[in-house]
């Protein structure tokens, strides 16, 4: 069974008289250990999808099975547990607590998992080491560069050893050099066995992944392996057993005025 299995997922926003179908019947299966980039035009539903995958939001229709559990049946408590233990979420805007040191920011998920105080600092420090920011542990967010802030956010996502890392445009606010550093981090996390799913607008960022899912108007337009993915599969590494094939949504291209 797949790690992530979503079927016929829809997300509809009612905006007064208007209804926005942010996701319009999405089916995706993701195996443990995959490295996936989600692409698509602005407004195509990438963030909406990520939020659903991260159990931050619930679909209007359809099913989401995570690790064999039907997410729509879970209550607040169980969802919080999943967000805390299974998923590390990295935001485009970092979302660090202001006036709070890097290491304290990284500690946050440990507080909610009930980790004893004595272990928290050590684990947070090691997470900061993994992202190469141990020397800035006591700096506050406003004393850090954008790239450093994103590393803190990644360390926070990693600190509870989640199996899935979700990142919504993690390099969206960073220059290309810093973006490459951050991507090197994700590459390493994938290599060490994590499932990594990230949203990006940039082709060369997406090329880091093994599989690219392209959305358009809330539907899956393409779902294909990248060069790396093909090479990786040929080499038998990475753990992605998925045989990606291009999916062309029949009505997506037919819709008039749809953004390209």
């Amino acid at each position: 069974m797949s790690l992530i299995d979503i079927r016929g997922v829809e997300k509809v926003y009612e905006m007064g008289a208007e209804t926005v179908r942010a996701l319009d019947g999405v089916d995706i299966a993701i195996e443990a250990g995959e490295y996936i980039a989600i692409m698509g035009a602005s407004g195509s539903g990438k963030s909406t999808l990520m939020n659903l995958l991260g159990c931050l939001d619930t679909p209007s229709a359809g099913h989401y099975q995570l690790d064999g559990v039907a997410v729509e049946t879970l209550d607040d408590e169980a969802l919080a547990h999943i967000r805390n233990h299974k998923i590390g979420f990295v935001f485009q805007t970092f979302n660090l607590l202001a006036r709070t040191s890097a290491v304290k920011n990284v500690e946050l998920p440990l507080i909610y998992s009930g980790t004893p105080r004595s272990q928290r600092r050590g684990r947070s420090f090691r997470a900061l080491e993994r992202v190469g920011l141990a020397d800035r542990a006591d700096h506050q967010p406003n004393e850090l560069s954008g790239g450093q802030r994103q590393r803190v956010a990644i360390a926070r996502a990693l600190v509870n050893d989640p199996s899935i890392l979700l990142a919504d445009e993690p390099t969206g606010n960073l220059d290309s050099k810093t973006s490459e550093d951050i991507m090197a981090l994700f590459d390493g996390l994938h290599a060490s066995g994590n499932t990594v799913i990230l949203v990006t607008h940039e082709r060369d960022i997406a090329e880091h992944a093994w599989r690219v899912i392209t959305l358009r108007d809330g539907k899956v337009l393409h779902d294909e392996l990248t060069e790396r993915g093909r090479a990786g599969q040929a080499g038998g590494g990475g753990g992605a057993a998925h045989a990606a094939r291009p999916v062309v949504s029949p009505d997506a291209s037919a819709r008039p005025g749809a953004p390209a």
Partner: protein, 407 residues
């Protein structure tokens, strides 16, 4: 999430906005300060009064001329009198009276050689005074019955007077002037401390009739009588006896009200308690309003805080905070805010109580009982919970993704 974590987070959050926190809790500060100040003052008073009254014992009684007597409508104007002759008649005619003294009090300057001093009190009393008031002599002797009957020019003084007039190591036998009257000091009273009107050690006691020489004949028309029944069981019978004898002597018809008031020790205790209780209750009501206002202030600032920190709440939820974690965080913050206000209020109230006691002469020492402090903090916690629960549950119910998207 453990409480300690929430307390730390709350203190961090409040520290980021110190001035705002203090201003917000002003209502709480004023409320608790008022309780503590009033309770400390009232307790001080009550402590002093009950101490004095309990010292005189349960057989103690007071008789006052009822000065309101003539003010009723349709009353024939007739001077209300209560004289020492009434007192002497009571001593003879009411069985069960063990001790009795009149008291007239006034103020007169005193002089010893070139030293001048105006004591707080000049009393005119009978020889029973020390036993009636449980206030004994320390040196020399008290006034004797002969002194009182013969209107002798003798006096017993308090330690303060000895000091102020520099009567020296051997004050007995000293000739002092009270007003223009020369008197001989025959004794020094034991030290007793302060009461409402002044320092009880700053005192000159002379025989009752001698005092009339000082204050004038008219001063003897309305005196207070203080007495003791032979034992506690005799109190009701003595009371009835006093009423009967005085009504008779004052020529009151049946149906006419008494022109005097008899107070028993436990009644005095009760009425003191009632008055102070009334003061406390009034203040409690005002404090209730202050705490309500304070609570609304806290609710207001917590709502602001929840709105300001919507993204933080979203983030906390996205990394695994449950509803109850967020609820606890903001509730603890509200309670902490309220308790900080409470602590400042207790400190301020204690300061005000001490200040009042220090500034007003002869005011008893302020006394803050532990229960008042516990009560203040208890109420602050209640206010914090009561007014914090709504903002906190509002925060807890936030949808994570909407909170994160909030701008």
């Amino acid at each position: 999430m453990i409480v300690g974590e929430n307390v730390l987070a709350a203190i961090d959050a409040l520290r980021a906005n110190k001035l705002r926190a203090v201003l917000t809790t002003l209502g709480i500060i004023i409320g608790t300060a008022a309780v503590i100040a009033v309770v400390s003052i009232v307790q001080g008073l009550q402590f002093m009064i009950t101490n004095q009254l309990e010292g005189v014992g349960s057989t103690y009684m007071q008789v006052f001329p009822d000065v309101g007597f003539n003010q009723g409508p349709g009353m024939v104007a007739r001077p209300v009198e209560l004289t020492w002759n009434d007192g002497l008649a009571l001593r003879q005619q009411v069985p069960g009276i063990r001790l009795i003294t009149p008291i007239i009090a006034g103020s007169k300057p005193t002089r010893f050689r070139d030293r001048r001093h105006t004591p707080d009190f000049v009393f005119g009393v009978s020889e029973d005074y020390p036993d009636v008031m449980n206030h004994t002599v320390d040196q020399g002797r008290f006034l004797s019955r002969i002194d009182v009957e013969r209107r002798r020019k003798v006096a017993v003084v308090g330690s303060e007077v000895v000091e102020k007039l520099r009567l020296g190591q051997q004050p007995i036998g000293g000739e002092i002037y009270v007003g223009s009257l020369p008197v001989t000091v025959v004794g020094v009273m034991e030290e007793q401390g302060t009461t409402f009107g002044g320092n009880l050690d700053d005192l000159v006691i002379v025989p009752f009739d001698t005092a009339l020489l000082l204050f004038g004949r008219d001063a003897g028309d309305q005196v207070q009588l203080r007495l003791h029944a032979a034992n506690a069981d005799a109190v009701p019978q003595v009371r009835d006896g006093i009423e009967r004898v005085l009504r008779n002597r004052h020529g009151l018809e049946d149906g006419e009200p008494n022109d005097f008031t008899i107070l028993l020790q436990d009644e005095i205790l009760k009425s003191v308690g009632a008055i102070l209780g009334g003061v406390t209750a009034t203040v409690a009501a005002i404090v209730g309003i202050a705490l309500l206002v304070g609570g609304i202030g806290i609710m207001n600032i917590m709502l602001v805080s929840v709105t300001e920190r919507t993204r933080e709440i979203g983030l906390r939820k996205s990394v695994g905070a449950r509803r109850r974690d967020i609820l606890a965080q903001f509730l603890v913050e509200a309670i902490t805010l309220s308790l900080i206000g409470g602590a400042m209020g207790v400190a301020a109230g204690y300061g005000v109580g001490q200040l009042v006691a220090a500034v007003i002469p002869n005011w008893p020492q302020a006394h803050v009982p532990l229960w008042a402090v516990a009560l203040a903090f208890g109420f602050c916690t209640l206010v914090g919970v009561g007014f914090g629960i709504y903002p906190a549950s509002k925060a807890a119910r936030l949808d994570p993704i909407e909170a994160l998207r909030f701008e």
